[in-house]
């Protein structure tokens, strides 16, 4: 019989701990599929963040380490110095990357670190129970802004792709969305391109995934996907911001 589908060896055969409707699992899988397809699962080192996806090392079938909150890009920079020929990546949420770790991500990009950052933007702090993140939209409710975020109180949401793409040594910056199968396939191509560019040693590569957090958004999984593709995609345009010539 012809095999038409096989789960990737990059994911361990266990259930994830993520809530129904959360996109972490989809992002994990497409990253692992890309690594498997290029035969690099055994030559990859990943750094997980503080956040729901600290658990990623229980699901991704590769060597990994945990990080202090926000410092994954510094940790990956250290790993890169010992392993110039491996694939190195960080996987970070928006509290981790855009708030406490804003300094480390900017400087990893600024040094042109040759690793890839996968940034999961769900516009909220998931693991700690739904507090406001720098990426929380105006009017969006969170446990530290129960009537919705206001500009007066917290400023306007931070757009990380836009910020990172101003840094010259960040050579590939793209935002993708995981709201339907077609976009998941597109996202996978983007992940693959980012890894190609990393392997070619061209500079820092950054992929942002617009993601969902039904639990803390107080929405059903389908409502959450709808909110992601409307409200979120409206403020965070899904597109390529930067790529090297030829990619």
């Amino acid at each position: 019989m012809k095999t038409v589908f096989q789960p990737t060896k990059g994911m361990l055969p266990v259930d994830t701990s993520y809530c129904p409707g959360c996109a972490h699992g989809i992002a994990h899988r497409i990253i692992m599929e890309c690594l498997e397809e290029r035969g690099m699962l055994g030559k990859t080192i990943g750094v997980v963040p503080i956040g729901c996806s600290i658990n990623a090392h229980n699901f991704m079938n590769i060597d990994m380490c945990e990080s202090t909150h926000g410092r994954a890009p510094a940790i990956a920079s250290g790993i890169r110095r010992v392993h110039p020929d491996k694939i190195v990546f960080t996987y970070q949420g928006d509290g981790d990357l855009a708030s406490i770790g804003a300094g480390e991500i900017v400087h990893a990009a600024h040094r042109g670190e040759k690793f890839t950052t996968f940034f999961i933007n769900n516009a909220i702090y998931g693991m700690t129970g739904g507090q406001m993140a720098p990426t929380t939209l105006i009017g969006q409710r969170a446990t530290t802004c129960v009537d919705g975020r206001t500009v007066e109180q917290a400023g306007l949401p931070l757009r990380m792709c836009e910020l990172i793409s101003t840094i010259d040594c960040a050579v590939f910056v793209e935002r993708v969305m995981l709201n339907n199968p077609a976009n998941v396939r597109k996202a996978k191509k983007v992940v693959s391109t980012a890894l190609d560019i990393q392997q070619a040693g061209l500079g820092f590569t950054f992929v942002e995934f617009l993601s969902t957090c039904p639990t803390n958004w107080g929405l059903s999984p389908t409502e959450a996907i709808h909110w992601c593709e409307t409200a979120m995609a409206d403020y965070y345009p899904v597109k390529n911001f930067k790529k090297p010539e030829g990619y």
Binding site: I62, C65, E66, R81, V82, G103, E104, H107
Partner: protein, 360 residues
């Protein structure tokens, strides 16, 4: 082997290179700037990698990443920078990742000053990290000893899979002394890393199974078991890593307890006291944790007073009192803020303490 005249900070950096350090991460702070400067050109020549980190927070985390993946990682800083590294040091200990950190300390608190200080004693022995962590700390009294301690610190860190801190001070960093440099060890290649660090995250092709370096343990009993495992290592450290030296303890009425630069001044004070007919001796802790309690058993029956002599308002004195266990009165001679007392000042104040405990 011949001696070379070197500035402390440069000798410390060279010692790390000779120990086979493969990665150094640093952020500028006086009085240790010569270390990142030296590393920026010399480490690459030896085949290692240098990053000028964006902060001490980043530096310690870079070191964690490098060491978790099998590198020999070295960081250096001075007091306020070490405060920023505390979370990373505690996390690294919890993950059982070996790194070596050098603190060329200065006067505090806050941004403080840039002259030598020892007010980081609590910071290095008690730490600012959360949780049950111990970090071996070695305090040299001169450039040669610091070079030797840095050279061996990497092996200790790797044997115990825990950070190790070297606590020097700005005086040692800035002065010049003749030193004998140890032989250069090669930087470990991938095969050597796989052989000596089977736990390192080097990619699953490079070792059996899958390696994960982690700290999070949400189950209380699992976390407790991990901390107990760490404390088995720490109990071994308390048996194996105690280092100290003593001098003139026989017949001494005054026993100074001092480390680092202060111990050198005490050695001078002991000679001056001898000229006045007062016998004084010195206990010099080299390991600050584990603290050398055993040294205090060498104190003779003539001892009238123990004097913790510190460049701080008195921090080590807590460990001295603990080790003295009520056997002798314990007093303090201290200067702080970067002020270093003269040996004459130490003599004066020591004699006053002696008179006071004798009820004179």
């Amino acid at each position: 082997m011949s001696k070379v005249l070197m500035k402390g900070n440069e000798a410390f950096a060279e010692a790390a290179i000779r120990a086979g350090c493969s990665c150094y991460f640093g952020y500028p702070i006086t009085p240790q700037n010569e270390i990142p400067e030296y590393m920026s050109h010399e480490l690459a020549k030896a085949g290692g990698k240098f990053i000028q980190a964006e902060s001490e927070l980043a530096a310690v985390n870079m070191a964690y990443g490098a060491a978790a993946s099998g590198g020999r990682a070295f960081i250096s800083t001075s007091s306020p920078g070490l405060a920023l590294m505390q979370e990373g040091l505690g996390f690294t200990a919890s993950c059982e990742v070996p790194i070596v950190a050098l603190n060329v300390s200065r006067g505090g608190p806050g941004v403080g000053g840039i002259q030598p200080g020892q007010a980081d004693y609590f910071q290095v022995t008690r730490g600012g990290y959360n949780g049950d962590v111990r970090i071996p700390v070695f305090a040299p009294s001169g450039i040669q000893e610091c070079v030797d301690l840095i050279y061996s610190a990497f092996d200790i860190a790797e044997e115990y899979r825990n950070p190790v801190v070297i606590f020097a001070d700005g005086m040692m960093g800035q002065m010049m002394e003749p030193v004998e440099l140890p032989p250069k060890k090669p930087i470990a290649d991938d095969a050597e890393i796989a052989r000596t660090k089977p736990w390192a995250i080097t990619g699953t092709d490079a070792h059996e199974g899958r390696n994960v370096v982690f700290s999070l343990r949400l189950q209380p009993d699992v976390l407790e078991a991990h901390v107990e495992h760490m404390f088995e290592k720490y109990a071994r450290a308390e048996r194996e890593l105690v280092r100290y030296s003593t001098s003139n303890l026989e017949g001494a009425e005054i026993v100074f307890v001092a480390f680092g630069t202060m111990s050198r001044l005490c050695a001078e004070a002991i000679e001056l006291l001898a000229e006045k007919g007062v016998k004084a001796g010195l206990i010099r802790p080299i390991s600050l944790w584990p603290f050398p309690d055993a040294a205090f058993d060498e104190i003779g029956p003539e001892a009238k007073v123990l004097i913790s002599t510190e460049l701080s308002m008195g921090q080590m004195i807590q460990d001295v009192k603990n080790a003295a266990a009520g056997r002798w009165p314990v007093r303090l001679i201290s200067r702080t803020g970067g002020v270093v007392p003269s040996s004459l000042e130490i003599v004066d104040r020591a004699l006053k303490h002696l008179q006071e405990v004798q009820g004179k």
